[in-house]
Symmetry: C2
Subunit: 203 residues, 2 copies
DNA sequence: TTACCTATATATAATAT
DNA sequence: TATATTATATATAGGTA
């Protein structure tokens, strides 16, 4: 975990593997120690060394035996139902990672679509979009519109802003205050940052 | 291990302790998993949760039982002689930390003495030193002198530098080149960086 | 082999959502 | 309660002595 991201696979180089075992074993026992003290729980760990070495046991072989005996005494049903073993541990991790991947993928797609929207507003022809892009864009705009309607409904009657046609925002700086205020209002309605200013040219 | 260095002691706040247990337990099992894969060793860990929760076992209760059975089968002598349990683990850590503390203390003392030396060279009266400081300083200077003699002997006959009295280094910048070169030579003899330039006014 | 160093990778405490 | 974020603290890989 340093100098280089290590791949989770058996280390073939002897010296490296032994060094890693030594370092990580020490680190692991330290963690077990900390956990049991910080949280006041009983915990134990056993790590076998390869060759003739003896296992390292924490916190003591007696405590480990006691804990493992309790474990053995649990009825099979409980063991399979409630315990977290390697399989469930890995399954949990996998599930969580998958979720995260999906989230990120979705987020990525939304951002891509937002880029499409801006490009189209900036003059890109809708024909140049792929089918998927077009669908996503339609969906995005649809959702934005609905959200906007909800908010407008929540706010009740509202003074509509004057129509603003293809005006470069930079020009608006020296435009009249009413239009700018209207746009501010719109931005607020849409929730501000990150939203695309659709003004009154939806679709 | 973040935002604040945590003291190794039971966490009294309930919510905090539970959150810590959850996070660290997950981290611990991840480590056991990595260790067993990276180094190809069998390892297991069991962490009991407080209340009604079930223990978390890695990699599986079967494997844990198998490992602990092996453990139980070891003769008592081996267990006490070769196994690393909590006591020996803590003793090892303590020993190592003590060594480190001694090293740092010694280093610290050397640095303090070096400061004394510089102060004295800069005009501080030797009378203002405490007995211990004076002794340390004497010792330091003695060692420096011996090291210097060794190096001079190694180098053979050497052109001695001209005497340089109480001269502010800043003045020396505009001093004559010979003196500066002599000082450089001396610094080199003494090993450079960190050494105190004693010139020819030892003691 | 052991210890030490240092750049990075991870773990995680406190906090916000 | 769970998750996300962020600032720090630790762990540790690869090298060196």
């Amino acid at each position: 975990m340093a100098r280089k991201k290590v791949t989770l696979a058996y280390i073939t180089n002897d010296a490296t593997r032994r060094a890693t075992l030594k370092k990580r074993r020490r680190g692991l026992l330290k963690k077990v120690n900390e956990l049991s003290i910080l949280c006041g729980v009983s915990a134990c760990a056993v790590v076998y060394s390869p060759q003739s070495d003896q296992p390292e046991v924490f916190p003591s072989s007696e405590e480990a035996k006691r804990i493992l005996t309790e474990l053995a005494d649990l009825p099979e049903i409980d063991k399979n139902k409630k315990m977290v073993n390697q399989r469930t541990f890995l399954e949990q991790r996998l599930m969580k990672l998958s979720q995260q991947a999906r989230r990120l993928e979705h987020e990525n797609k939304e951002l891509s679509t937002a880029v499409c929207l801006r490009q189209c507003l900036a003059g890109r022809s809708v024909e140049s979009l792929s089918k998927e892009e077009a669908e996503d864009l339609l969906d995005l705009v649809d959702r934005k519109a609905k959200a906007l309607q909800v908010r407008m409904h929540q706010l009740g009657p509202l003074m509509l802003p004057p129509v603003v046609d293809d005006v470069d925002v930079r020009e608006m700086v020296s435009y009249d205050g009413a239009a700018i205020e209207a746009m501010r209002q719109y931005e607020w309605i849409q929730g501000g940052g990150g939203g695309v200013l659709l003004a009154n040219r939806f679709i």
